[in-house]
């Protein structure tokens, strides 16, 4: 059972299913860790990208400030405004005319003494600039327009320090949204633990209390966060944070786990289906082959239908069927040969009549049959008259023709139920079962008459024949062999009587006493 292919295939299929489930299970568990780790890495790398973008934006703004600063006319006009004391009309007009195209939110120019040369309406920024030394080219400023990126460039003309130019970008909701579109996740601008602006609109005004491991809880939902590095002094400055929702992350994991489960079930079903198909396609013809083999082993040669060969198993089955067919044909040949051998053993080669050996074999059965049916078993012993003279006159060929003609006439005359034997050179015995004792004698007389009237032929030569017959009846009280001997003895006695009384006669053995006058060696 364990070693059968069916068992093995089933075991392999189950093993494959288990392997698949274990693999996918392990993949799920491992990938969960990988996803979380990748989420952390992604968070960090996205924060780095955002930092790079922010740095590019800072550099761009600073570049704009430097372009304005390096313009000779700006310097000249600043000089006139700051040092000569003229009004700022020309400077404002020049800045607007020459650099009005710059994509900046605000432009402020202040003199060294803190006087606002351009941007008097931007008092918050101007006052900050006049009161603080930014100590950096770019810094962030929380003004009345919100958080602003400020690029700052000092201006000198002919060796005289005139003042500085400041250009700003406002970091408003639109800016945050644009930044978010490049990164996904959420962005928060926080100052002193309060969210000032965010792409997560519900969180604005909420408390922002990040933990040491980079998490923050907003509206009862945890977020993984990373700070963006802003240029300039960080003390008391607003901070920008990039974050992703852990809930969304877990939802992704949930989707992933469902996907893994679907793949596991589908994979297991697929393997089972394939396994069953293999078992079905492989095992059924194999079982049939085994069944046939068992029958062959038990001596049978069963018929096996051939099929269209689609695979090796089909080819093997067809070859096995062909082998069975060949064996059957051989068996039939053997049986035929055996039958012929058997017939040659019990018949005479020349006359095709039963021989003496068969008489010994079959007599008990015939005797039993006659006895069982309460009929009379009659033995008719026949001898061709003057057969020696026929041989001498017509040769052995003539003698053989007489024997063949004699036998044919016996067969044609007797009934199907009668047995005809050649028990000697020219001696024949007929065993006939009849209702009465006269039946056998009548048959003998009929034969004698037919023989007499149907001579043998050797070419054109007619060889006349006559026969003498002795008729006797079986004695049922005797055993089979003894009954045969008794039958033959008495038939031979009657034949002897017919011979000595002139031949071409039929004599029935009716007197047991005459047996004593019969010479013993006359029977043989």
């Amino acid at each position: 059972m364990v070693r059968t292919y069916r068992f093995r295939l089933s075991a392999y299929t189950i093993a494959l299913v288990l392997f698949l489930m274990l693999t996918l299970g392990y993949t799920y568990v491992y990938s969960r860790g990988v996803i979380l780790e990748e989420a952390e890495n992604n968070l960090t790398s996205t924060a780095q990208i955002l930092n790079s973008n922010l740095e590019l934006e800072e550099n761009e703004l600073l570049h704009y400030a430097e372009i304005v600063r390096d313009d000779l006319r700006i310097k000249e006009y600043m000089f006139m405004t700051a040092k000569v004391g003229t009004d700022n009309e020309a400077l404002v007009a020049l800045l607007d005319r020459q650099f009005g195209w710059l994509p900046v939110e605000r432009a402020v120019i202040i003199a060294n003494n803190g006087k606002i040369l351009v941007g008097e309406e931007h008092t918050d920024l101007a006052e900050y600039l006049s009161q603080h030394d930014p100590k950096a080219d770019v810094f962030y400023f929380q003004g009345k327009k919100g958080l602003e990126m400020v690029a700052w460039a000092s201006v000198a003309y002919e060796g005289i320090q005139l003042g500085a130019i400041a250009l700003t970008h406002v970091l408003n909701s639109a800016w945050l949204e644009q930044l978010r579109q490049t990164s996904g996740g959420y962005l928060f601008i926080e100052e002193n633990g309060i969210i000032q602006l965010s792409t997560l609109t519900d969180s604005i005004g909420g408390i922002f209390a990040p933990t040491l491991d980079g998490r923050v809880v907003l509206a009862n939902e945890p977020y993984r966060i990373r700070p963006l590095i802003l240029a300039g002094p960080q003390k008391h400055a607003p901070r920008i944070w990039y974050g992703v929702s852990e809930k969304e992350l877990l939802m992704k994991l949930e989707r992933h786990s469902r996907l893994v489960l679907i793949f596991t079930v589908a994979g297991a079903l697929a393997i089972l289906w394939v396994g069953l198909a293999i078992i079905r396609n492989f095992n059924r013809p194999l079982s049939q082959l085994m069944h046939m083999t068992r029958k062959v082993a038990s001596g049978e040669l069963p018929r096996m239908n051939k099929s269209v060969p689609r695979n090796e198993i089909d080819m093997l089955s067809n070859q096995f069927a062909e082998m069975l067919q060949a064996l059957r044909e051989k068996q039939q040949e053997i049986e035929q040969a055996h039958k012929e051998l058997e017939e040659s053993a019990i018949t005479d080669a020349l006359t095709r009549l039963y021989n003496r050996r068969y008489l010994q074999e079959v007599f008990p059965r015939i005797l039993s049959q006659a006895q069982r049916e309460s009929l009379h078993l009659t033995g008719i012993l026949l001898d061709i008259d003057h057969f020696k003279q026929i041989n001498d006159q017509f040769g052995h060929l003539g003698g053989d023709q007489c024997l063949i003609q004699f036998s044919r006439l016996l067969r044609d005359t007797c009934r199907a139920s009668d047995y005809v034997f050649r028990i000697g050179g020219e001696e024949f015995l007929i065993l006939s079962i009849n209702d009465n004792k006269q039946g056998g004698q009548l048959l003998a007389e009929k034969i004698r008459d037919i023989i007499e009237n149907h001579p043998a032929r050797l070419g054109e030569t007619i060889i006349p024949m006559t026969t003498s017959a002795g008729v006797s009846h079986a004695e049922y009280s005797l055993a089979a062999q003894e009954a045969l001997s008794h039958l033959l003895l008495h038939a031979d006695k009657a034949l002897y009587e017919a011979k000595i009384s002139g031949r071409n006669k039929v004599i029935a053995d009716t007197d047991a006493d005459t047996l004593s006058a019969y010479p013993v060696n006359a029977v043989s």
Binding site: F79, D87, A90
Partner: protein, 306 residues
């Protein structure tokens, strides 16, 4: 079909290559000969100080009629440059088949004329306008007030009767090694106020005056002001910057406009310059820009005899 035609043409050209080579050689020879030959088809070319492409452009048609030659004036948008140095360069480049002459806006020094083998052809005196923005209430300054402002002695318009506004001085101190022009205001650049705007062109000067309501600057009268320009010229001592006032010597600030050639100008170049010096068409334009011609008007006979 087209391909076969193309290859047939290429084959024909290939067979003609020796003849083509000979043709190219002849053309090259002609091209090399041409610069040395004079042809009335060649244009006369002038370049230099900006007044040339304002004044001469206006009289170009008359000059071309007089000489029968085409005249090309390289001016504001030329890659050859403008200004007196470009005029001197054009004069030096004069050669047969390449007839050029130049213009300068100030008198050249003797040394410069000698070293560059130049011939100077005086054309006219041009008043130097003292410009302020049109919303400046000041319309007149004395000669000394002008000098005081340019020197930096006067730094507020209030000091000369204007509004209480600091004066923004704009200067264009060009041709520093040549006499005349701005040196009639102050003879040395070192004497000018330090706190001033120095510009490189007349256009920049006008722009600065436009920008600053309290600015003051200077430029020649041959400047095409745009309708949008918010500038005005001050009278000096009540004297307007006109040709008449230059002629009678009452307007103090001016410069000398001249044409320059090398020592061997061609007949047509001389004809053009003399037409400007003595012809009637130049007079008409000079009047428009308040220029005082340096030479008297001659009759056609006289002009032709010269």
């Amino acid at each position: 079909m087209h391909a076969n035609r193309f290859f047939m043409i290429v084959g024909n050209i290939a067979r003609q290559i020796p003849f083509i080579k000979a043709g190219v050689a002849v053309l090259l020879a002609i091209a090399l000969y041409l610069p040395t030959a004079h042809s009335d088809e060649d244009p006369l070319m002038g370049a230099g100080a900006h007044f040339a492409w304002i004044v001469f452009d206006a009289i170009k048609e008359d000059l071309e009629k007089t000489t029968g030659r085409n005249i090309i004036l390289f001016g504001e948008n030329s890659m050859l440059g403008v200004g007196c140095n470009a005029g001197i360069k054009a004069a030096k480049q004069n050669a047969p088949g390449h007839e050029t002459f130049g213009f300068v806006c100030c008198p050249l020094s003797d040394k410069e004329v000698r070293e560059n083998q130049l011939k100077v052809w005086p054309l006219a005196k041009e008043p130097i306008l003292i410009l302020v923005r049109d919303d400046n209430p000041v319309n007149d300054l004395s000669e000394e007030q002008v000098r005081g402002i340019f020197r930096g002695d006067i730094t507020n318009w209030q000091e000369v009767g204007g509004a209480d506004k600091p004066i923004v001085l704009v200067t264009r101190l060009h041709c520093k090694d040549r006499p005349g022009h701005w040196k009639l205001i102050l003879p040395d650049a070192k004497e000018f106020r330090q706190q001033r705007l120095n510009v490189k062109s007349a256009a920049a000067m006008v722009q600065r005056i436009n920008d600053f309501g309290s600015a003051i600057g200077h430029t020649g009268s041959t400047w095409k002001f745009k309708p949008s320009d918010r500038v005005k010229a001050l009278t000096i001592n009540g004297i307007a910057p006109t040709a008449e006032n230059l002629a009678n010597g009452s307007y103090p600030f001016y410069r000398q406009l001249s044409a320059v050639t090398n020592k061997t100008p061609t007949k047509d170049v001389v004809k053009v310059i003399e037409e400007a010096q003595y012809g009637p068409s130049f007079r008409k334009v000079a009047q428009q820009y308040n220029l005082l011609p340096s030479n008297p008007l001659k009759s056609d006979d006289v002009a032709q005899s010269r």
